[in-house]
Symmetry: C2
């Protein structure tokens, strides 16, 4: 199984969004997607931001995304094109994880997402407005496949329910039986420091569930000896191997 | 029924605590209690901050409380002393609503509070640490009387469950049949602007419930033609009649 991290640019958020109720300076955070090539197909987890949407609705997040940081360009850097992706999975449906979904309309891709997340994004809480403000994923030509529960999506690709940040947030564990399991916990916490301290993001749906999900991710990582990847840790991101470099797991 | 607002000082909080996820400058907010004299007794709602606790555990909130702003001094300004209070009610058990509870130990006061709030304050979420950091209310000599549901505490004093900010938060409606009903919604939202926009405080237990409670308070106020009082609106506070001045309702 080969894994690439696809750079999708960056945005700026308040420190109290990075760590709930913890004051500090604004911070620029990375946005990225995860591409997995396995015997069962080509899997893409999340699709970053749609720069036009960000500039239109959330310009205060100072979005940055070069042409080379778009999904097509990142796929090309790895030797693929949009039509090669067999399964698109969204960890959740926030703006910085769905921006490129619309590009897959008509490609025949299977778009896996949590059934609760689908329902919530279409009928969200008032305080979730910005998070769910990009609905371009809800378009013709995408084969939405709502799922629930923990399950093995394909050989060695395990999805785990980790709600709190959003109601239908999924984390993914790759090749738990192998020598180098990876656990993408996405937005459970934004940084390694936040995860360590158990501080969830300022944007959340249910902080009680968020506490349980942080504990669950830590427990899964320990049980399987997996390395945890979080979506928005700029320091960690600088040290990751990025596409076209890759991890073999 | 006569109502006094007892000044208990002030603290400084982040703007994202005043309004969840809304950035802005730090703000100094008032802390106050509500004293009600009725045919059924003398009722005190909340008891402000304990300055020693604040200086020890939350000095970053820059607490201010003069001797004249303590519960005994405020009661005296209204012609009462601690032993005159028959019923102490806590809207919830956060630090800025329980600081003076301990002063009533041994006075025979009945201390009404929500049963869920009592349980939560004794075994809170990690993210509720600061809010529930003052446990001086949980002392010998106070007759805790945990209650649940909406009910008429005494003639014309109605308690309504309004969870979200905390699990067992109560609001109180005074004399709904009278010419000037008052609705103390405490920490449902911190300011009139926040209430108007439906923005709950940055510190909360369950934001989904918080949305419902904001709607409930607005609905109750409209139904009964009541004026809404919030606990932490400095602009509104400057305009309120404060003890020894009073409202006759």
């Amino acid at each position: 199984m080969r894994v690439w991290l696809l750079d999708n640019g960056s945005i700026v958020i308040e420190h109290t969004q990075l760590m709930w109720n913890v004051p500090g300076p604004q911070v620029r955070i990375p946005v990225y997607s995860v591409l997995i090539e396995s015997d069962d197909g080509l899997f893409l987890f999340d699709t970053g931001i749609d720069l036009d949407h960000m500039n239109r609705v959330l310009p205060f997040e100072l979005p940055e995304q070069t042409e080379a940081q778009t999904i097509p360009a990142q796929l090309a850097a790895c030797g693929f094109e949009l039509g090669d992706v067999t399964t698109l999975v969204n960890s959740h449906l926030h703006i910085d994880h769905v921006g490129g979904n619309q590009l897959f309309a008509g490609t025949g891709v299977r778009n896996v997402l949590h059934a609760k997340e689908l329902a919530q994004a279409r009928n969200h809480e008032p305080f979730e407005f910005f998070g769910y403000s990009d609905h371009s994923w809800d378009c013709e030509g995408l084969n939405l496949d709502p799922v629930t529960g923990d399950f093995e999506l394909a050989k060695g690709i395990f999805l785990y329910e980790t709600p709190g940040h959003t109601v239908g947030h999924y984390s993914v564990l790759l090749n738990p039986g192998g020598s180098k399991p990876l656990l993408f916990a996405f937005d459970i916490a934004y940084t390694a420091a936040a995860l360590e301290k158990g501080i969830q993001p300022g944007f959340h749906n249910n902080p009680h569930d968020g506490v349980l999900s942080i504990a669950r991710v830590k427990s899964l990582a320990e049980e399987h000896g997996a390395e945890i990847f979080l979506s928005h840790d700029m320091d960690a991101w600088q040290g990751y191997t990025r596409a076209p470099g890759h991890y073999d797991v």
